[in-house]
Symmetry: C2
Subunit: 245 residues, 2 copies
Amino acid sequence: MGERIPTRHSLALSPSCNHCSLSNLCLPLAVSDGDMGRLDEVVNRGAVYDRGQAIFQQHTPFRSCYAVRSGAIKTSVETAEGDYQITGFYLPGEIIGLDSLHAEEYAGSAIALERSSVCEIPMDQLESLSFEIPTLQHHFFQLMSQEIQNGQQLSLLLSRKTAEERLASLLLSLSSRYERRQMPPTAFRLPMARNDIANFLGLAVETVSRVLTRFQSQGLATINGRSVESLDLEGLHSLLQSPGT
Amino acid sequence: MGERIPTRHSLALSPSCNHCSLSNLCLPLAVSDGDMGRLDEVVNRGAVYDRGQAIFQQHTPFRSCYAVRSGAIKTSVETAEGDYQITGFYLPGEIIGLDSLHAEEYAGSAIALERSSVCEIPMDQLESLSFEIPTLQHHFFQLMSQEIQNGQQLSLLLSRKTAEERLASLLLSLSSRYERRQMPPTAFRLPMARNDIANFLGLAVETVSRVLTRFQSQGLATINGRSVESLDLEGLHSLLQSPGT
DNA sequence: TGATATCCTTGATTCAGGTCAAAGAACCGC
DNA sequence: GCGGTTCTTTGACCTGAATCAAGGATATCA
């Protein structure tokens, strides 16, 4: 279990725009101030997990969703046959556990990639709340269909793209997600190991490494170990255009 | 009249169950008779689509989910770059459109693979209904997280499995889904073209064909064109066990 | 500070599955 | 039944990425 940190207001709602305390999610939520307060009471803000620690694990009873506040999380599924697949990387402002919403148990595991602060959203309480606050239900539906669509994008990536395209996609995805958080989109830290990237993209570690160095020599990116120092967003993007048809 | 006693309508009832058009969904739903009646009013039962016809199309306004009653449907997404990926095959008793639930537009298209009867579930009406029938909301949450998990399984399939494993997975999946519908699990009709199978599994058509004939010669399956005549479920299943680790 | 495990890169080799090509088989409208 | 699609199979060949192997780079911890 992650260590508890004292309840603080760092997840404060911005009163101007009516986002909920899940506000990092950047989805507008029109609720009254009163409802907003009740929502805040439910959300249990801030536990900290060290690198490698599990936020939750597959086949354990589902209790909460989790919003990442700092750090980074990877989620994964494991089949009966023992295959292990990373299903996503989650950055601050993103929510994990949606795949298990209203299921008996978690449908996968979530592991901290580095020291991460995570706020817990207990589902039993939220469920009853969402009857009183219709918008909230709507909100979660939206998040879930977003999640389904992410999965479909991933499928497309895994079945139809070359190694270079996969890496380009990942870098661009990270870039735009950092940007959305008002962080530099062409210089950031890769929170995950090459190994994890490889698994996520369905490649061998060696291939990831090779393609990354190839990007370097083509001037598409400057990457030093885990730190991305510059990206040619244009150039990477143009890799994705399939010339045919 | 006294209190209405909630009746448990198991949605796994035979397709002829005339209580609820959603009945094919095979998920237990505990609602009162009255609620069930109202639900039935909302659901618009039975439009028929010919082979190749679109039930809905990507980037058109989302209006309804659809439950397949007979026939078969394929769903697909298309990216800005023009990649086309089939995201699923839907058999009678399954629901499509969940990925777009509460989104502005459909996140993909749905095309009939053969003459299919499909019942429409208009979301605007269902939304207000689900406010009054808590179980219904729960029901849809469940369906959606199921859908996310399907997607994750697909990702795993596409990134980590060999051509043989992919085909085996598909055959086994179809088999168990037919079985759930009280149909023979080892002899059924493949509703989709090799082309579609290939696209779905991330393979070339030729590979699909080759693997299928290899299955024949190994006695794992007897397949004649689009009709599966016999399957060695045991044998196919054992293909999926990854021996390593 | 050095010992040790983990992570990352690079090279050489191999192979599963893609691509190209072409011939049957099934289906459709007339 | 007949010409034209569209679907399916089979063969020959080629390539992108996996695998095997091994040497650097980083991190972790006593």
